[in-house]
């Protein structure tokens, strides 16, 4: 399916959606400026128009090439790889993306000092490390190094969380490390 020209349409649609969305949003600040004729929208709309133009030219050129030689514009390999990979591999890849995002979502709530060791162990496990000594040892080494550099030496204020118990534990840990 992805060996055809669908990816060309897909890419065009992404750029059309981006430029169309940005153009629609630009009406929110479409107000005249006394000292500047082009207003606040002039520059962003010029860029939007250029994106639209280049996206259309790209589509036309690549479509013309694809019509001449279908193999010349075969879609990016990773889409075909994605669809040919097993469900389990795709779930693992999805988790490799999702876990750091989950970490970023949890960190302001549960704090850096509590969340980080758990994240490190989970991420190492996801990347294929199964020996528990390495899981714990490497996680603690990375964690210790980061705490030493950023908390003990540079006094960087890292998130301590805003959930009651976690807030207390994180603050206690910060005091202990310093």
């Amino acid at each position: 399916m992805w060996q055809g020209k669908q990816h060309l349409w897909g890419e065009l649609l992404v750029w059309l959606a981006l430029s169309g969305g940005a153009y629609a949003l630009s009406f929110e600040f479409a107000r005249p400026i006394a000292s500047y004729t082009f207003g606040a929208t002039g520059w962003p709309r010029a860029i939007i128009a250029l994106i639209l133009l280049v996206a259309l030219v790209q589509f036309a050129v690549r479509l013309a090439r694809a019509l001449r030689d279908p193999q010349a514009e075969a879609g990016p390999r990773f889409w075909s790889q994605f669809f040919s990979s097993g469900a389990r591999a795709n779930v693992t890849v999805g988790l490799a993306f999702g876990l750091p995002v989950l970490y970023a979502a949890l960190m302001p709530r549960t704090g850096f000092y509590v969340t980080t060791p758990l994240f490190l162990i989970a991420y190492l496990y996801l990347l294929g490390e199964r020996r528990w000594r390495y899981l714990v040892g490497v996680a603690l080494f990375i964690y210790g190094l980061m705490v030493l550099i950023f908390t003990t030496v540079f006094y960087v204020a890292l998130p301590v969380g805003n959930w009651p118990v976690f807030y207390d534990i994180n603050n206690w840990l910060v005091q202990a490390y310093r």
Binding site: W15, L18, A22, S26, F29, I33, A34, S35, Y36, T37, F38, G39, A40, W43, P44, I47, I48, L50, I51, V54, A55, V57, Q58, V61, R62, R65, D69, A72, E73, P76, F78, Q81, A89, V93, A96, F97, P100, V101, A104, M107, P108, T116, L120, Y123, L124, L126, L127, G128, E129, V138, A139, I142, M146, I149, F150, F154, V156, A157, L158, P159
Partner: protein, 497 residues
């Protein structure tokens, strides 16, 4: 002049306090430059209050040494892990990291060390010889129209670098320019694309974007390869580039020095554009432009020579005219104010010692980079022997802390991850993250220059053609654009896919 230099050099190496400050600045700059998020600006900001307790000579000298060492420090992580320590090291990662993946990390780091030292040394030397002369010329010739024309030229060149096709290159640059419009417009102060949040009024923070597009997207790409079992670990090598290899790149080094030096003089342009422009010009002049982005040593050489050549040059408008060219030189202006001094042409008469100590320190800082950098090549490269499954969580954590520590905002971490995910898909589809980053850097500057030009000239677009320097830059930009279109349309279909 020679006596002044000798006198300041003797003072630098015989006064224990001055020497201690010199060494601290050197090591601190290299360390902070190499850690993403806590860059040389962080160090500069942290030590600013303490400079009140130093002499003005030592304080300014400290900042100038941090500047030289910090710009170099960021190259190491850019080459080894695809994490540019600072924006000016972003083009270094384009070929430095592929070299690492090919098992030639030592060669890439070695070239970065040599070229950083050479670029910085030549720039410091030129600074010593020609500060007042060059500063007055550059500032008289470069108004807002010229700055806009230079940015236009820079973008036309950048669009042809890093992406699979010219169209993808331009779309990458334009995406960066569009992201740069988020925040407040330079003419009326209206909020644009801010979605009603206070955070976006100041624009999208730059460092999290760089970390996301380069480091996080790389971790995702390598993580995917590990999970699917397709990843090949890079070999560790400690080879410095041979003399013959380096000699072949002599023209690239000289050209990058010139580009870096002139970009560094211009206020607001500085080392970032210097590195990108030098890289782009190297691609343009190369007989094998298709090799760039796949591990071409000349890419590392071009970027690292230019960004270090810009450091000495950036001191010229600061000292001679009191015009800071970037964030760190603006901090230096703060140091002058703390000590009740005003930089400008008179400083060469009233504070001769300060000027010569700074010149001398920058010259020797660049020589010291050569020695310290050589040590780094023999030690830091061993980090590559650590399995990537152990390194990748450390990189993720380092990038997360770097993004957060910048302003203590978790939103910056989100921006970094969003940029990382977008960067992953764009890179896999053949777009250029370097193009996006350059568009992002130059967007604000370009719009501000355009607005000022329009206001000053009564909306006369012919201004861009009627001023000699401006007209030349526009003409070169248009020629580059046309040549790129021609080259793109002549490309064989397989190469353009």
């Amino acid at each position: 002049m020679l006596w002044d230099f000798i006198h300041s050099t003797i003072h630098l190496f015989t006064d224990p306090v001055t020497l201690l400050i010199f060494v601290s600045g050197l090591l601190g700059g290299m360390l902070f430059g190499a850690i993403p998020g806590v860059n040389m600006l962080t160090l500069g900001a942290v030590i600013l209050p303490f400079t009140a307790h130093m002499s003005a000579e030592n304080a300014i000298m400290l900042y100038s040494v941090i500047y030289c060492a910090g710009v170099f420090g960021g190259a190491i992580t850019a080459i080894l892990f695809n994490i540019p320590g600072a924006p000016e090291n972003a083009p270094t990662a384009l070929d430095g990291y592929p070299l690492t993946q090919k098992g030639q990390a030592g060669k890439a780091v070695g070239a970065a060390v040599l070229c950083s030292a050479l670029g910085g040394f030549a720039s410091a030397l030129l600074m010593i010889i020609a500060t007042p002369l060059i500063a007055s010329w550059a500032v008289r010739q470069f108004g807002p129209p010229e700055v806009f024309a230079l940015i236009f030229f820079g973008l036309t060149v950048a669009a042809s670098v890093g992406a699979k096709t010219l169209w993808k290159g331009w779309l990458s640059v334009l995406l960066g320019l569009l992201i740069a419009t988020v925040g407040t417009d330079p003419a009326g102060g209206y909020a644009r694309f801010s979605f009603g949040t206070y955070y976006l009024l100041a624009g999208v923070s730059f460092i999290p974007m760089v970390l996301g597009f380069f480091a996080i997207s790389e971790v995702f790409i390598q993580g995917e390869k590990m999970v699917t079992g397709t990843r090949k670990a890079p070999k560790v090598s400690l080879d410095f580039p041979s003399f013959a290899e380096f000699w072949r790149l002599k023209i690239a080094v000289l050209r990058s020095m010139v580009i870096g030096f002139f970009a560094g003089i211009l206020p607001g342009i500085g080392a970032v554009l210097a590195a990108f422009m030098s890289y782009s010009v190297a691609v343009r002049w190369s007989r094998h432009p298709e090799k760039f982005g796949t591990g071409e040593l000349e890419g590392v050489v071009a970027s690292e020579t230019a960004n270090n050549a810009a450091t000495g040059a950036a001191m010229i408008p600061l000292l001679a005219l009191g015009l800071p060219g970037g964030a760190l030189t603006a901090m230096m202006l703060g140091v002058f104010q703390i000590h009740g001094m005003e930089p400008g042409p008179l400083i060469f008469v009233t504070s001769k010692d300060l000027v010569w100590t700074t010149f001398s320190a920058m010259l020797f800082a660049n020589i010291a980079i050569l020695g310290l950098g050589w040590l780094q090549t023999k030690t830091v490269v061993h980090l590559l022997a650590v399995p990537f499954r152990f390194l990748s969580p450390a990189i993720l954590l380092l990038a997360t802390i770097g993004a957060y520590a910048l302003r203590n905002l978790i939103v910056d971490v989100w921006v970094m991850f969003v940029a990382g995910i977008i960067g992953y898909f764009l890179r896999r589809s053949g777009y250029s993250v370097a193009g996006i980053v350059l568009g992002l850097v130059l967007g604000d500057l370009g719009e501000a220059a355009f607005v000022k030009t329009m206001q000053l000239t009564g909306y006369s677009l012919t201004t861009f053609l009627s001023r000699p320097v401006c007209g030349a830059l526009v003409a070169v930009g248009v020629l580059t654009l046309l040549w790129n279109f021609y080259a793109e349309l002549r490309r064989p279909p397989a190469a353009a896919a």
